[in-house]
Structures are given as structure tokens and as C-alpha cells.
Symmetry: C2
Subunit: 333 residues, 2 copies
């Protein structure tokens, strides 16, 4: 796989370097760890800090979501690997204003361990931390074991509502409650068409035939539910939605926020064709779409495919979904 890189061992450092230089009014590096970044904007006093993080290669996730109305800081890991506790702790200390910090991250073993350790260290410095895991991927474990599920693109809605809540002055417990509620009301499922390759190894992230796709693929290439022959976009959307509806029953007149997320190399044209079908199916069921997002929100380098996310929204979540955002990779008026 051809890549626009220099030394494969330096891709994360060089990306961060370019990112900070491109957006100096938005984000800055902290001093101890090269991969600890915080907003360059002045935030409100007593605001609860929002800390996000995880592996690189998911851009705009995660550093792209540091900015007004979303996260205050990010700890950046290697490609598809969790950041260690040190940068997480450094960001925690930098963004805590006495009101505590909420950690938002996907449910992966490395992240669970490292964010947990960082929270323990923060506790020793009397910083209150709440941890919220996202577990939106319905394909990754049965509903009875929801706590084992991976976080995929639905993380975007957790960042969005929790970030808005913190910006609107909610306290630590309330911001964490919003994040958990959003996760509880969020379901995603993806389909993988073509793998990406890691810069250091050049190995494909998963194996797939020329006329196959993998339903329920995880966003590091983790196995999904099954490999099936390629199909039409409408049928793929129907299949993904079927799994989502089975997992989170929605009733007529329920309202949802929708995300059709590209995994990296899928053209917007295709994502909108997928969205078209999602809208048709929801309409047939009498489910109202409150707000839609279509594009690359949480990617896997140049992986091909997409995921569909539905978040059931009530009045409280709607107000937070509508809250303005100003980040380098995502702006909402």
C-alpha cells in the first residue's frame, strides 16, 4: 500500500506536528508528552474537562474533536493502540479546573487499562475523574454482554453530547450521566469492504475476498459477524439496520440522530447512497430523523466501508446535539 509518509515509525509524531501547525489557534501540545494535546482556546471557569483519546489512524477521531463544544484535551496513541497513562494524566491535570474531568473512550482492553491507571493517578492528585466507555457496536457481542462491546463510530455522539453538556455548565456527575445515556441510546454496525494497512508493517488489517464484505467489522479490522458476498447498497443498509433495530427497538414517532460514517476510502457519493436508504427505512417505520451526519467521522486509515449509527434522542439530548461546535475537523453552527 502506497503511503504519503516519511519514516513509518514517526507517522504519529509528524501528523501531530502538522496538525498543531495547521491549527495553532485551536490546539497546543503540552510539555511533558509529545502526545498530550489541549485546546488553545480559553474555556469557561469551573467547566468540567472532557478528555478523549485512543489510537491514531481514526482521524478525525480523536484529536480532531478537541475544540469549542467538544473535548478539551486528547491523549494520542500509536496507530490503533491506546495511549499510555502518562499523557492521559498530563492532559487531565491541564484541563481540570477543579470541576473534575470525564474520560470518554472506546471499550478496548488497552484503553480500559491505561485510562483506568491514569484515573487512579489523577485521584491521588485529588482530581475527580469519571470514566465512560462507549460500547455501541452491536456486532461485537450479544446484548446480554453489552459491557463487552466495542466502541465504534457512535463515540462521535458521546463526544458531541458530553462536550455540549460540559460547555453548558453541567457538573461532573451530570456530564458523565449524559455520556452514559447517549451510549445507552446508541447503536452502530459497520461493514468492511477493503482493509487498510499499518504504516509499520504494511500488513492488511483483515483478509477479504474480491467479491466479499464483512458484516460487523470492527474499526481496527476485528472480525465481524460473517463474510458475505458483496451486495447492493440498499440491501447492505437494510441488513445493518436490521441488526440495530433488533438490538434497540424503536417505535413510531421516536426520534433519532443518524450517522453514516465512512471508514476512510469510501467516497461521499456512496455514503449518501447509503444514507438515502437509511432515511427510507426509518420513514417507513415512522421514526423521525432529528439530525444527520454523513462523512468520515471515525475512520480506520484507508479502510473501505461504512457504519450506520442511530442514537435515540429525547429533548435533553436534542439540545446537546444542537449545541455549536468549533473544532479543526468538525464545525457545527
Amino acid at each position: 500500500m502506497k503511503k504519503l509518509i516519511n519514516n513509518p515509525n514517526n507517522v504519529v509524531e509528524e501528523m501531530i506536528d502538522g496538525y498543531v501547525k495547521a491549527h495553532p489557534t485551536y490546539i497546543k501540545r503540552l510539555e511533558e508528552n509529545d502526545r498530550s494535546l489541549v485546546t488553545a482556546r480559553k474555556t469557561t471557569d469551573n467547566k468540567v474537562g472532557i478528555l478523549i483519546g485512543g489510537g491514531s489512524g481514526h482521524e478525525p477521531g480523536f484529536l480532531g474533536y478537541v475544540g469549542d463544544g467538544m473535548a478539551d484535551g486528547v491523549a494520542v496513541g500509536n496507530i490503533f493502540a491506546s495511549p499510555p497513562p502518562a499523557p492521559i494524566l498530563e492532559v487531565t491535570k491541564a484541563i481540570d479546573k477543579g470541576a473534575g474531568v470525564v474520560y470518554l473512550y472506546g471499550n478496548y482492553a488497552g484503553d480500559v487499562m491505561n485510562f483506568g491507571m491514569a484515573a487512579d493517578l489523577a485521584d491521588m492528585e485529588d482530581i475527580h475523574v469519571e470514566m465512560v466507555l462507549t460500547t455501541d457496536d452491536v456486532a461485537s457481542a450479544p446484548i446480554e454482554e453489552k459491557e463487552k462491546r466495542r466502541g465504534i463510530a457512535g463515540e462521535f455522539f458521546v463526544f458531541k453530547t458530553a462536550g455540549a453538556a460540559a460547555d453548558q455548565g453541567y457538573n461532573l456527575g451530570e456530564v458523565a450521566r449524559i455520556a452514559r445515556k447517549t451510549n445507552e441510546f446508541t447503536r452502530s454496525m459497520g461493514v468492511g469492504l477493503t482493509p487498510c494497512s499499518l504504516p509499520q508493517t504494511g500488513e492488511p488489517s483483515f483478509e477479504i475476498g474480491d467479491n466479499e464484505m464483512e458484516l460487523g467489522l470492527g474499526h481496527h479490522g476485528e472480525p465481524g459477524i460473517k463474510k458475505v458476498p458483496m451486495d447492493k447498497a440498499d440491501n447492505i443498509a437494510d441488513e445493518l439496520l436490521k441488526h440495530i433495530f433488533a438490538d434497540m427497538p424503536l417505535n413510531k414517532d421516536d426520534e433519532v440522530a443518524v450517522l453514516v460514517n465512512g471508514l476512510g476510502s469510501t467516497p461521499r457519493l456512496e455514503l449518501y447512497i447509503m444514507y438515502r436508504r437509511v432515511e427510507q427505512v426509518l420513514k417507513e417505520k415512522g421514526i423521525h430523523i432529528y439530525r444527520s451526519y454523513v462523512g468520515d467521522y471515525i475512520t480506520s486509515l484507508e479502510m473501505g466501508g461504512c457504519s450506520i449509527t442511530l442514537t435515540k434522542v429525547d429533548d435533553e439530548l436534542k439540545k446537546l446535539i444542537d449545541h455549536p461546535v468549533d473544532c479543526p475537523m468538525f464545525v457545527q453552527k
Copy 2:
């Protein structure tokens, strides 16, 4: 190439259908032509209309740039093909408020013919039209034949400044002057790593070896300057910038807006590594970066590679670059 589509002959209709359903508060279809779209927002009285257009497959170009502060309407063509005169004329009539309409499009034979014919037809209906071609691709013809050059990602800056000027109340001649000035001060050059394939034919858009890249590739796969072996990102950036500087000399303390544009399947991580080098080189030359854009702004389906665009900015252009924008695929506060 696997694609998330239904019938390959319907991809443009279905994309537009999904797009309008996803963003109903931003954009709407006109009645006569399925591919005539205009802003759903109320615009100022006597505002000069901004009409953009061209082939599909370049999303966010072009329909993604209809919205506040950019274009008022778009005529959408087939994949990589110009829209015919009829939808262009229909959009023209819909967005003309008596102050005239500016057509902004890339310098391609089909577009030149169809937008020209639409302008003639508009003239018969007493609508004043100014046409501005973008010709930013330095690799497509020598400077002596600048009028033969293709428009590539630099179109984004032409849309940005002309859209802002119209929004700020500039008259028809002034908006056209701004668009031409921006084009005059804009240079781009791209590099192609991997082709895309057209939904209807499945054929790759250009041929390239496993360890090769094409310098100066056009955004429909038109031949560039030469095929060369893959190289490091820094060397590629240096090479692209060398051609740009040779074409548009920049002096110490000049200011530029920078766009590092992905062609479709190139991860943001790589685009920021490219940006990192662009910033280094400009800094060494004492050229100041006024504002930066890094991401997928004008794509070629799932083509791999990127382009670099520099626009020399003065006080007038800076004010327009800074003007806020609210479009479904591009928001700037």
C-alpha cells in the same frame, strides 16, 4: 473495485436524493431538472448569485459547497462529466435576484461549452452572467498557456472568496473580479498514487505501477508531468512546491492560504504529514501562512494521493477567506 451502490446508472440521482434528505434545511431540488439544486436558506435581496457546477465524484465539490457564504446553486453532472445547459439555466433563473449570476467552474471542454451555452440562454432572458474559469493546475500547461490549464482543488478558494464577496454585497463585476483575482493568485499541483474506478465501467481512471506515483495528475486521472518512483512525503511535498514556486514566485513576507487536499482515499494522517512539510518549506522562505485547510475538499472518488494549493492573499482576499460559511460539507466560523 467494490462500491456501496445500487444500479451504477443511478449513482448520481441516488446521491443527490440522499443528500437532499440529509440536509433539507440547506438545499433543495428545483422542479424541471433533477440535478438543479439551490440553497434552501433565504438569501439577501439583491445579492449576486453564485452558481457552481461540474461533474459528480468530486464531493464535497460541488453540491457540498451550496450554503451560506459560498454558492447559491449547483448544476450537477454525471460522474466526471459536465452538466448540460438546461440545469445550469434553471439554477441561474432561480438564484438571480436582478443582480446577476457568476458561474464558477473548472476549465474543462465540456464545462466551458455547457456553461457558455447556458450563459447565452440566460442572456436572452436578460439575466447578466459572468463566467470565471479556474485554471490553477500548474502541471496541466506551461505558464504561457495558462488559459489551457485545468482547474483542480484551487477551485475551493475561488468559491470561498467569490461566495464571501457576494455575501458581503459586492456587485456582479466585483464578485467576478474577486473570483478572477483569486484564480490568478492560486496555484495547485497534485500527485496520484492509486486510481479510482468509475461506477459504470469499473475501469481504473489511470494506470500506475505498484511503486510509482504520477506527478501533476489531473483530478479525472488526466496525465501529469511524469511517472516517478514512490518517495517520502517530504520529498513529494518539496517537488510539488518547487513547481508551484517556479510558476508563481513568492517573496519573503508574502502571505498565503494553504490547502492540502486529499483525492479521496488518502487518510488525514498522511495529509497532515504533507502539511507539516509545506509549513516547514514556507517558513524557511519567510512566507507566512494566513489560513490552512487540510482534508478532502475536491476529490476524485476513491483516488489515492493529494494536491497542494497556495493562494497568495492580500487584505482584500484575507477578509473574504475569513468570512463565515455554513454548508453541509464545509462549515467555517
